[in-house]
């Protein structure tokens, strides 16, 4: 599975794509199966929104406690917040998806981000 992420221009907040808009919670993110062409379309659309978001890329997901979580550790930290301040960032809100993210294991770099870095 995949999701689309970016940082919001005005405040740097981590955001996820949902049906043509950007949402703050990973729990609300739109998920696509790996071969879904809509993911790539959404990515292209996101990248055209230069005054709304920056660094748009697709992330790979892994199953965790029956839910989906970002596969790479880095993306889980982005979706949660810093591990040294449990009350800072999105994790402060709690909930099943947050917990699933906190318990997720699995390790790999997100291909979307690797491509982003390569292009630079």
């Amino acid at each position: 599975m995949k999701a689309l992420t970016a940082n919001r221009l005005t405040d740097g907040e981590v955001v996820f794509w949902k049906d043509g808009a950007w949402v703050e919670r990973f729990a609300d993110a739109q998920l696509w199966s790996d071969d879904d062409a809509q993911a790539v379309e959404a990515e292209a659309q996101g990248k055209s929104q230069g005054t709304t978001v920056v660094d748009v890329y697709l992330i790979d997901l892994v199953e965790s406690e029956g839910l989906w979580a970002p596969l790479s550790y880095r993306e889980r930290i982005r979706a949660l917040g810093p591990t040294n301040h449990p009350h800072h960032g999105k994790q402060a809100e709690g909930g099943a998806v947050i917990e699933a993210l906190q318990h997720a294991s699995g390790a790999a770099r997100s291909t979307g981000r690797v491509n982003l870095i390569k292009r630079k």
């Binding site: 740097g12 810093p82 591990t83 040294n84 800072h88």
Partner: protein
């Protein structure tokens, strides 16, 4: 301390106004992210994992209480009530909004502060001895020259687009608290036999992917020729430093490629042509020197009864005095180090409340002088021994009296993967786990001086190469691993650490450090520091113990 005059203030105001315009152009879409990124970085504004990060310059690590209170206020108003002191003696706010950044720069400018040249390929903030003006070890006050460099390097028209970033350190004491030998330029102030002041000039030290201990290219540079000599070094670098590969662009690569003698020859040839025009006139040097004139110290006896009594009656205070109070050049005074390494907390973090406590104490007891160290601690350089019990009580109440300066839990750590977009692995929790192992202060004191430095990636913001124990976070297929090095030093006996063995997984690092310390305690001879023992025994006994499980 140096006071900004109208010229200094107008420079900041002009910069702030320029940045406000640039942010507006970005938000309106007139500037693309690629175009804007370079401009915001020139003002220390990074986009990190969770938000923007603003790196505020603290020139040569010197602050007054008004400035520290303003930083506290900014932390409370625009961040989450704290700030993070860095190994460049700057302060980073980690939760900044782009739309607030122009206002923050205005607030900073109102107390003579800014974020100028805290990023980008330009001359960055100069590091100097946090004990400057307070230690008897120094031959002269290095801040005079650090301020001269601040002005010379600010908006230097020729050196704003160097091959790579450029960092200068100045120390005037034989005991180096600035890591001068691992800077692009390290300047060691010395006095010649005839009394003249001059700099030993070290060029081409550095950390990152290829650590180098910088060689000395000139043994004695008359102090009043400093700026022209720096100009010669920077010009040779600007023209000949590599620009084809970001990892080979620092001056250390150029110096190593040319050899130090050839590099020195080119600098001397350029310097001869530059002449004296860019050197500061004596009148300006005198003006700057006047700003750092010795403070009005009282004549006090060597021994303070209040201090001795408090030590005898309060063991915790005695421990603090033993570890965090250093000798002052004036009798009856001490230099107080404030550890930002409370056990279990984030190294270098201070809450807004804590910053205000330090500001108040500096005002009441410390002649309004506050320093930031490159080891991410704060210093009150001038405190009467008589006042130490009160200062300690104030610090203690704010959670700032951790008595661990230079001890195993006084760990340098970069923000790492918890915040930084470049990081491969977390650094902060590793520091926290190690510190927990040495929560017992008796054991920590028994171990003695041990400098642990942790970086979350090869850029080495956490100075891992020069840690007695260095820890480097690496990414193995998306998983956090840590490469340990031993025997590094950033002090006057500078050395790059050598690799211990294969990288360790996250859960094993704190235990491995514990094991290393046990080996040291077993092997050490009369009064040796960890570093001394390692240098005598070599890596073998340490390696054997840490990787024993693997055999």
């Amino acid at each position: 301390m140096y006071q900004y005059d109208t010229i200094d203030k107008e420079m900041l105001a002009d910069r702030s106004a320029e940045f406000r315009g640039q942010v507006a152009r970005r938000l309106s879409g007139e500037l693309t992210e690629d175009q804007f990124k370079r401009l915001r970085l020139m003002n220390g504004l990074y986009l990190q994992l969770h938000a923007y990060m603003l790196r505020v310059a603290i020139p040569y690590g010197s602050l007054n209480p008004t400035q520290l209170r303003k930083l506290a206020w900014i932390g409370r108003t625009y961040d989450k009530g704290y700030g993070h002191f860095t190994t460049r003696t700057n302060l980073q706010f980690h939760w900044i909004k782009l739309k607030d950044a122009p206002d923050i720069l205005d607030h900073l400018a109102s107390v003579d502060m800014h974020a100028i040249q805290t990023s980008g390929n330009c001359i960055r903030n100069t590091t100097t001895d946090p004990y400057a003006g307070a230690t008897a070890e120094e031959v002269d006050d290095p801040r005079v020259w650090a301020e001269a460099i601040r002005q010379w390097s600010t908006f230097h028209p020729e050196f704003t687009f160097l091959p790579r970033k450029f960092k200068i350190a100045i120390t005037a004491a034989p005991k180096d608290r600035t890591a001068a030998r691992v800077h692009d330029i390290g300047l060691v102030l010395k006095r010649a036999r005839d009394g003249a002041l001059g700099f030993e000039v070290i060029v081409g030290g550095g950390m990152g992917r290829t650590p180098h201990i910088g060689p000395t290219i000139r043994e004695f540079l008359p102090v009043n020729r400093l700026l022209s000599y720096l100009e010669a070094i920077l010009r040779v670098y600007n023209r000949h430093g590599r620009r084809d590969n970001i990892y080979k662009a620092r001056i250390k690569i150029l110096v190593a490629a040319l050899g130090k003698d050839e590099f020195a020859r080119q600098v001397e040839a350029e310097w001869a042509k530059i002449g004296e025009a860019v050197d500061l006139p004596d009148t300006e040097l005198a003006r700057i020197r006047g700003a750092f004139a010795p403070l009005g110290f009282e004549t006090l006896p060597e021994r303070s009864e209040a201090f001795e009594t408090a030590k005898a009656s309060t063991p915790a205070f005695a421990r603090f005095a033993r570890n965090n109070v250093k000798p002052h050049k004036k009798s009856g005074y001490g230099i107080v180090e404030i550890s930002l390494k409370a056990i279990g907390e984030t190294p270098g973090d201070a809450t807004s409340d804590q910053m205000e406590v330090v500001a108040d104490l500096a005002e009441r007891f410390g002649q309004g002088d506050i320093r930031v160290t490159h080891e991410q601690n704060l210093v009150l350089p001038h405190v009467k021994l008589d006042d130490l019990p009160a200062v300690w009580a104030g610090l203690e109440a704010a959670g700032l009296a951790t008595p661990n300066i230079n001890l195993v839990s006084d760990i340098i750590a970069c923000p790492g993967l918890d915040y930084c977009a470049l990081a491969n692995a977390r650094a902060i929790p590793i520091a926290q786990h190690i510190a927990e192992k040495f929560r017992d202060q008796d054991r920590a004191e028994q171990v003695g001086e041990l400098k642990i430095k942790i970086s979350g990636c090869i850029n080495a913001c956490g100075h891992h190469h020069v840690g007695h124990i260095g820890i480097l976070g690496v990414d193995k297929k998306g998983e956090e691993f840590y490469q340990l090095t031993l025997g590094g030093s950033g002090a006057e006996d500078a050395a790059v650490g050598s690799m211990l063995g294969p990288a360790l997984p996250y859960e094993k690092v704190a235990d491995a450090v514990d094991t290393l310390v046990d080996v040291y305690l077993r092997e050490r001879k009369d009064g040796e520091r960890f570093l001394d023992t390692f240098r005598r025994t070599g890596v073998a006994p340490f390696k054997e113990a840490v990787y024993a499980d693997a055999h």
